[in-house]
Symmetry: D4
Subunit: 248 residues, 8 copies
Amino acid sequence: MNAEAIRDLFIQVKDGTVSPDDAVQQLRHLPFEDLGFAKVDHHRVLRAGMPEVIFGQGKTPDHLGEIFSRLAQHGRNILATRASQEQYEAVKSRVGAAEYKELARAIVLQQDGKIYGKGRVVVVSAGTSDIPVAEEALVTAQIMGNDVQHVYDVGVAGIHRLLANRDALTGARVVIVVAGMEGALPSVVGGLVGVPVIAVPTSVGYGAAFQGLAALLGMLNSCASNVTVVNIDNGFGAGYVASIINRL
Amino acid sequence: MNAEAIRDLFIQVKDGTVSPDDAVQQLRHLPFEDLGFAKVDHHRVLRAGMPEVIFGQGKTPDHLGEIFSRLAQHGRNILATRASQEQYEAVKSRVGAAEYKELARAIVLQQDGKIYGKGRVVVVSAGTSDIPVAEEALVTAQIMGNDVQHVYDVGVAGIHRLLANRDALTGARVVIVVAGMEGALPSVVGGLVGVPVIAVPTSVGYGAAFQGLAALLGMLNSCASNVTVVNIDNGFGAGYVASIINRL
Amino acid sequence: MNAEAIRDLFIQVKDGTVSPDDAVQQLRHLPFEDLGFAKVDHHRVLRAGMPEVIFGQGKTPDHLGEIFSRLAQHGRNILATRASQEQYEAVKSRVGAAEYKELARAIVLQQDGKIYGKGRVVVVSAGTSDIPVAEEALVTAQIMGNDVQHVYDVGVAGIHRLLANRDALTGARVVIVVAGMEGALPSVVGGLVGVPVIAVPTSVGYGAAFQGLAALLGMLNSCASNVTVVNIDNGFGAGYVASIINRL
Amino acid sequence: MNAEAIRDLFIQVKDGTVSPDDAVQQLRHLPFEDLGFAKVDHHRVLRAGMPEVIFGQGKTPDHLGEIFSRLAQHGRNILATRASQEQYEAVKSRVGAAEYKELARAIVLQQDGKIYGKGRVVVVSAGTSDIPVAEEALVTAQIMGNDVQHVYDVGVAGIHRLLANRDALTGARVVIVVAGMEGALPSVVGGLVGVPVIAVPTSVGYGAAFQGLAALLGMLNSCASNVTVVNIDNGFGAGYVASIINRL
Amino acid sequence: MNAEAIRDLFIQVKDGTVSPDDAVQQLRHLPFEDLGFAKVDHHRVLRAGMPEVIFGQGKTPDHLGEIFSRLAQHGRNILATRASQEQYEAVKSRVGAAEYKELARAIVLQQDGKIYGKGRVVVVSAGTSDIPVAEEALVTAQIMGNDVQHVYDVGVAGIHRLLANRDALTGARVVIVVAGMEGALPSVVGGLVGVPVIAVPTSVGYGAAFQGLAALLGMLNSCASNVTVVNIDNGFGAGYVASIINRL
Amino acid sequence: MNAEAIRDLFIQVKDGTVSPDDAVQQLRHLPFEDLGFAKVDHHRVLRAGMPEVIFGQGKTPDHLGEIFSRLAQHGRNILATRASQEQYEAVKSRVGAAEYKELARAIVLQQDGKIYGKGRVVVVSAGTSDIPVAEEALVTAQIMGNDVQHVYDVGVAGIHRLLANRDALTGARVVIVVAGMEGALPSVVGGLVGVPVIAVPTSVGYGAAFQGLAALLGMLNSCASNVTVVNIDNGFGAGYVASIINRL
Amino acid sequence: MNAEAIRDLFIQVKDGTVSPDDAVQQLRHLPFEDLGFAKVDHHRVLRAGMPEVIFGQGKTPDHLGEIFSRLAQHGRNILATRASQEQYEAVKSRVGAAEYKELARAIVLQQDGKIYGKGRVVVVSAGTSDIPVAEEALVTAQIMGNDVQHVYDVGVAGIHRLLANRDALTGARVVIVVAGMEGALPSVVGGLVGVPVIAVPTSVGYGAAFQGLAALLGMLNSCASNVTVVNIDNGFGAGYVASIINRL
Amino acid sequence: MNAEAIRDLFIQVKDGTVSPDDAVQQLRHLPFEDLGFAKVDHHRVLRAGMPEVIFGQGKTPDHLGEIFSRLAQHGRNILATRASQEQYEAVKSRVGAAEYKELARAIVLQQDGKIYGKGRVVVVSAGTSDIPVAEEALVTAQIMGNDVQHVYDVGVAGIHRLLANRDALTGARVVIVVAGMEGALPSVVGGLVGVPVIAVPTSVGYGAAFQGLAALLGMLNSCASNVTVVNIDNGFGAGYVASIINRL
């Protein structure tokens, strides 16, 4: 469309209805985004099936409901993270098909059920308190069109529970590992698989856990070379980047 | 081989030369690694073409030379990171084909020239001081069988230099972004591409850079959702994980 | 007035009603502030049009109302920052012309509408959550007699939205950039303009944002040389110093 | 020049030597920077008299000498910061007019002696150990075309030495305050003047000074509203931004 | 049981009902945990008398009540830490014999009264505010079958109160020392006894106590060589490890 | 008394009613505190007029009331710090003469009105938000028998207000300086007086004030050599140590 | 000996050569340590076989040689930690039987070969760079009379190497685990054994390892309850406390 | 002298040689310091016997020698802290009576031997590595005219060595306590004496000592109320403030 606009301008110049100097002026004043021929958006084709995402925390139920229902009209999947039951109700009354994923504290609307990921995204978590973050990652990967699986409560102090789930790990194309406290799980999982591991530190713990700092530092220093890290409690980010990788 | 050992045991039981009870005992005392049929290593097939890696820092030239030449005999590629010119000479005298990548402070031996990566790994860096880390990432990706490209000196305070390199960015299957100081570059790059971005904070800077902490925190808080982070100055880790992703 | 007092003293000495020694004694005991002729206040002339400022947080509505109405009698503009709706009502009942700037959480009373700033102060912010701090900066600059403009929601991960607003940036004599999370925006804006950029980190974010520390460090390490920094969430300070600069 | 290129393209289209479609293609492939008519550089006019700046630290004398002499050919002022005597000699042998500012650890070449600043930039520092950073700020402001003055060794524990220099302070259009240890000086100076104060924390001190962190935090929390802060030991940045302000 | 399963497999092979190759396959697919003969659990014999432990914080009373009553059926001792009065009531209604240790904020059910520890565990604490953590350690050691004693309110600023309790200290086989603020007590106690000292920093204090960081660092730097440290406020961990040691 | 007990023992030995060996045994079993002749308490004489102190925070009104009334029976002054209005009422109903110092959040009972301090303790504070901590210091010094004076709201950004109070400062034998934010005031005051300055950082401020850390570091790095520091918000500690010094 | 001194005093009183009052005086002036009958040293019996320990770092070779040879005369074992080859030579020339443990950077003199520990102390370490600290722990435990074993290079990213050493772990009465980087190994080992685990963080790593802080925090937050922690790089402390435990 | 100047002015006014208005003008332009009658320096009388102090670190021997010899001419005591043997030699060649206090790393010149302190300053230190800082405090107190005593190597893990020195402690009018590592000694000493205790944290220690941070935090959180704190390794500051107190 925009390339059209530029082409029209050239045609007007060719036709003599616009002088070259005026054309330069017109070009100068077009907002950048409207130039259209900017190559930067060529990757947009990769974005098919990407959900619209709303950060729910801090928004009034009404406000969230409004945004959600407006976005729902484009036919894409919608994901509202860090959303409360109360916010869900405000959404539900507007968009009947919206679901509340309680564990993940997420509201989702699935309008596009296509699978875009080429393999499976497996989400592993250490303790039961890490589950909300793990579920946020899982729900994110799901709504972005991935086959997902979870392996929960396999902390490193009970290494056999983790080893008993090797089949699940081996079946993954991307692994997300969610852990608080000492954040050791990604290193162990990283050593067990040959695929990328996205590590998510959680703020679970107390005292010297320093709201997730201990887990974060542990993960950044992982001795497994296939581990990269996202922000503390950022289950959404992990699910998102895992989905991006799984589409490659 | 190990599966063979187990199979032999079963045959001995079948033949009656070993009783079932003794077989259980024998099985019990086999070291785990020798069980062989452990599924955990099924992903090893993904490891074809993986280089042997040596962390050069702190090793005497002689020691490094010995390790390097011993590993060279297996026919795989070899990468020694954080290596000095002096260490290189100790290697060179033993393994004539070894090369020194001065900018990357790395010694490499390429015995397997096959391309394993499905696309291109692009390494972007902010300032000239970030180049050693960027080169470490680049050399790592290269020795692991990837088509690589670099885009250097495109810091965010001169956004047009970065935008002028959009073609390079758009051609990437995985992007590595290396930056010190405020570590803002991954966010901008993350917004320009649709593929995974591995962010590497560097210890470049002074004062409130706190040896890379500022850049690290900046990258962990990136507002671009396709960014994950590795440790400060960990060019190798970024190159490694980018390679893993690029093989998927 | 005070110079008068001193002059009177000299006259009394001249008249012989006070001896030189007694005069020295009297001078010694005058409180410094009353000397009046202290040069340190020569810059006060620059202060014409400066508002009276009240830090609202932690004050009872009644207390704030009292302070506000007392100050209002001097005919100057008044600004109460970090003020609640409830505090506003206590003010409103006493000073009918006071307005509540909800987004900025500020109460203002404009009694002097003169424009003191020589150019325009432009306030740029990264995300919607940064708006309260940005608005505090904007309202502060406004009440201090500046032509202001805002450019919101132009985070670095969507660099084109920012570039599409270059006209606004180019029209600024001073730019205030407000950003949380990785705090990268001031560097990019700093590279796009040739005027001073006041960077305001916000406590927006979670996890490794550490209540604004990540943004603060990022801004202090900005690779753009025209950037200076104020405290986390200090929208008022940014608006104030921008106004001071804009009067030069 | 670039606008010319675009204009030529339009003329070629008008002349029929290039078809509109081909013109769109050509436009698409021009690197952004070459578009020329991008408004973002309109502020470049403000940059007249801006020196070329080289960060000397970590560069070999020869390398620095080469860069310096190449830049010297454009007729602009040159400033190499954090430069050693040895680096200076390598510069001197190539560019005879280069001077070494020993206290500031800076090499300067003044080819443009015009005064661009509208007022005076005054640099105030707390202790004798802060002088190298203060001098870097001073030399930077000087080479950028400002009338400068320094007021040194006026730490807050001897408030009378500072007050005795009020005349100097009052004569400033912009003040730079350099201080290590507790970093209290900018607050006091900020209270004495009505103009912008750029605070530079230094790494001077020991123990709980934490390499400038104490001074940095002190300055960020300044109770004087006209204070903004740059990175620890960033004398150059302070001199730069003060110059930008002084040209307004 | 699992060893039985393996043995059965060998018997089937011996009998010819399963071929050696099929047996290898079957073995391969047994989940690790079911192998049974894994030596890693030989130490389980040391676990006789170990209580089931529930981390109460964050669980609804009902949820905690359910877990508690289900675990109670195995006849072992049960310990719920960080539990409220309200949670206790939910437990009490299901398990009448459960007791609430108010100071320790713990719910306990003692079904096994045997003493497993070979000596006495003495819990020492510095201030009255440290008592909840100290009591958690004490109750943990008690429910794990230890003879326990407490020595409270013997902070280092009143060294004579501590020295007056030397008899209690000398009678200990393991000492737990609980202290907030400067965390100095473990060093002094460590110098007075020849047995292991488990130090527990508490979050008691304000300001530069930084929620227990000061105490933690103090204890990690103890000049007494028989001191080891657990996490801030981790009374349970100290009681647990003291019990483990006391059984040796 | 205890010396008596020892003397009796010697007399019994002299009399032959106790053998030397039995005497050694008896001595061995006397608790240390009862030895009585321990010199460590000789300084207790300095403690005449010392108040009994209760840390109110976290205590129930009833509990505080009980402690207060029990201590009140010994005839000494009583000070309960960090006490609420509600706690005061519980005290008042038991001890009618108790007073509530609202600004200081302290309950005091003055039963000993003697002045023990040899000079005056002056309490200086920077901002109005620092007053609660300053008042706690003031009330503590008062109840410990000192002539006290306060100089409030003399922050360093308005240096003339401080200088206008030089008479008060010069009249002090010990000065307490209370400041939040950048904590610069003790350095300035320290330079103006020749007596000891006790600096109290407060948690006043936001953002990079980090709950008093900025002020604390500033004070520890004071360039005035007569400054020592107590914990953040520790007004009581400052008042206490000032009183100890003032009795010397 | 000291009890003798007291006994002599009683005898002198009995004999009438010293009056009871003079005896009280004499007792009062005896230094505490010489009282001898103080119960605090009853635990000294546990100290048989304890080595004399010298912290070598920072001492001149001569100085260390002197201390070492003087202590050697008491017939006890001697351990000098953090000692260089050069220091060893100064010791060797004086004490011919002294040995240098190069990996552990320790000088030892074994004069008492008795085994005091009741079981085996096993030292586990993660990477080859952790070996110096691990060896310091091992040599300490050895010289304190323990049967020791080491299991090295079993980092968590290669969990099978660790599991292959379960026999060694199961044979331990106390386990010391030494690890840098993410410090995850103690949690895994803690889950595999039922005995106390002493965790030693090392300063191995770079970037976000922050000189051992990451490992330290990881270990303090271990999800295995039998883990306690000592200071970063404190191999000696771990060996010491393990020995104390192993004697119980 | 300055009061004279003012008096002269009044006399000139009285004489009619200067008009009142001109006098006001003249007064206005006198630098503040020259006003002379400023009361702020009344406390200077307390400064008799105060030494001139030079911070030696970072100064060339020649530079230090020059400063030292120039100051020596005023007849006051001189103290150069953090001075090397080499610097001393440069001083010695100019000022023959200067002495080098090797342990304290200080150069002193005693020209005024008067005792200004009313009691004794006792310096207590924990370990042998703390002695340089302790000696700096001691030498400072000595050169400022105090009777001093030291009690070294009395760390809290051997509490009896400290208690054996109670006489020394009891004889102090001011106590300085110097300690690294956990910094617990000031709390214990503070509980044993009734006089002010100045605590000096040292950077002695490793790992989690964080260059004195652990000791600093410990001391700031001291449970003994008579403790105040100076900067890490600031022996001079402690000696200075102790002297100020001891003169009261």
